[in-house]
Amino acid sequence: MSAFLEAKDLDAFYGQVQALHGLSLSMERGTITTLLGANGAGKTTTLRAICNMIRTSGTISLNGQRISGRSTERIVEMGVAHVPQGRGTFTTLSVDENLRLGAMTRTDHRGIEDDIEKMFARFPILKKRRSQQAGTLSGGEQQMLAVARALMLRPQLMLLDEPSFGLAPLVVQELFEILGQVNRDDGVSILVVEQNAQLALKIATKAYVIASGRIAMSGAAEEIAQDDEVRKSYLGY
């Protein structure tokens, strides 16, 4: 059986600069996988490569279907929700409009309305802020909005780029609990890039450590968490 998400031999380039060097990774359906590594190691680039937002060679497949070479919009339509670094919130639009944008590729009008209500039940703060400009939300609220927006796609796979960035520790805790729920209850597979390795390793089943655009190490999250060598050399805690 082939993996749910499978990337093989990815080379990615920012202009002339090569950021990924033959990177390969795979993840199983319904799991949380985390990408760890220092700044500039290529974590964000890997996510961008999966969504074809950067010049990339190599093959990527989702559910055995090849997605590499397809346009970003098409990959999104296939059920890949990518919350980029900085959350990608449409700050000048309302919370409600942000949620609707998340469902842009769907055409089931009723289903969309239902899902918006579901998001409001799950994130009550968003209901309160419903018609408020998204830019006026706090960082934590914006991150909740970003997750809710991604869920509006009814994704198979969610790509999260440093969701804990700039958030207070308590909010980060809450966020990761929610991500766990999303994974368990909605059956969404999650590939998450994190600086906060400790936390990410707690919710993930599998981890990849990236260094200089290559996979330096991979394995079960628990093992990586306990490997002192890895911790000191790559994760810095």
Binding site: C51, T72, A81, G88, T92, L101
Partner: protein, 292 residues
């Protein structure tokens, strides 16, 4: 008093046209971050197209709507052929593109239809509006048609999925692509709509300024003034700015001694400079509130 009301109303009539041009400018500015100085020439060519249709015997209204459609397609074509390849090019390249478009459209119009002025028909004639001496039927039509058009656009942007997608693509193209919006199409749509709005403005103002290749030069300047006054990023501001500029221009031209017809245009330029110096975001170009 009568004079004041009359002049205000006819100011609103001109202002409605400036509002349309300003809105077209703002739409393109918001989608590609550049000011389309060829907007007036695009409107002029569309108006010539309408005139040609009528010369061939097409009645006014079919020609009017056919022109809007063709202008829309023309706008899309300009995006695809000229500006999409320039999408990542620096500002000066864009400027050169706009200047080229301006010159090409202007010269082609001159070549095909020559530079002599031509009369353009009024859709409803010029009799006093509802028997009132304050405003003519055509001025009322200029206000009425523009306002209906602007209202429809408001509904489109505020309440339809494509409208929302266009707003999203204009503010954050990368995020828009990540929710599956085909941003390239949204830019083309923006060009098409801006061109169509310009066509309406051109056809409404042509009976007043007469049809010739340079007919939009002044109108475009007023449109710029309106867009700058309203704040380049605000569609509602562009409309309000257009109406204000129209009324301002007319009242100053009438009541301030020494400001005749010749000085009105420099007034528009003075207004641009004043706004940029005193309130660079314009009246309505609000600063976006944001917490990080």
């Amino acid at each position: 008093m009568e004079l004041l009301i009359g002049q205000t109303l006819s100011g609103l009539a001109n202002g409605a046209i400036y509002a349309c041009i300003a809105l077209a400018l703002v739409m393109i500015y918001k989608t590609i971050d550049h000011l389309n100085i060829a907007q007036g020439e695009m409107a002029m060519i569309s108006t010539f197209f309408a005139w040609q249709l009528m010369e061939w015997g097409v009645p006014y209204w079919p020609a009017f709507f056919l022109t809007i459609f063709v202008a829309f397609c023309g706008g899309v074509a300009i995006d695809r052929v000229l500006f999409r390849p320039l999408a990542k090019a620096p500002v000066l390249t864009h400027l050169a593109g706009f200047v080229a478009l301006f010159m090409i459209l202007n010269s082609v119009a001159g070549l095909v239809w020559d530079f002599t002025i031509k009369p353009f028909p009024y859709p409803f004639g010029t009799s006093p509006f509802l028997g009132s001496s304050l405003i003519s039927t055509h001025q009322a039509a200029m206000i009425g048609i523009s306002m209906v058009l602007l209202f429809l656009l408001y509904l489109f942007f505020q309440f339809t999925r494509i409208g929302l997608a266009m707003r999203a693509a204009a503010t954050l193209p990368e995020s828009a692509r990540l929710v599956g919006i085909r941003t390239g199409r949204m830019v083309s749509l923006g060009w098409g709509m801006a061109s169509a709005i310009g066509a309406v403005a051109g056809m409404l103002i042509a009976p007043v300024v007469f049809l010739e290749p340079n007919m939009m030069a002044g109108i475009l300047l007023y449109g710029f003034a309106a867009a700058v006054l309203g704040g380049l990023s605000s569609p509602a501001g562009a409309v309000a700015g257009g109406l204000l500029v129209g009324v301002f221009e007319n009242l100053v031209g009438t009541f301030v001694p020494g400001v005749g017809h010749e000085i009105k245009l420099p007034l528009a330029l003075a207004l641009i400079i004043a706004v940029l110096a005193l309130k660079p975001n314009g009246l309505f170009g609000r600063k976006i509130t944001q917490r990080v």
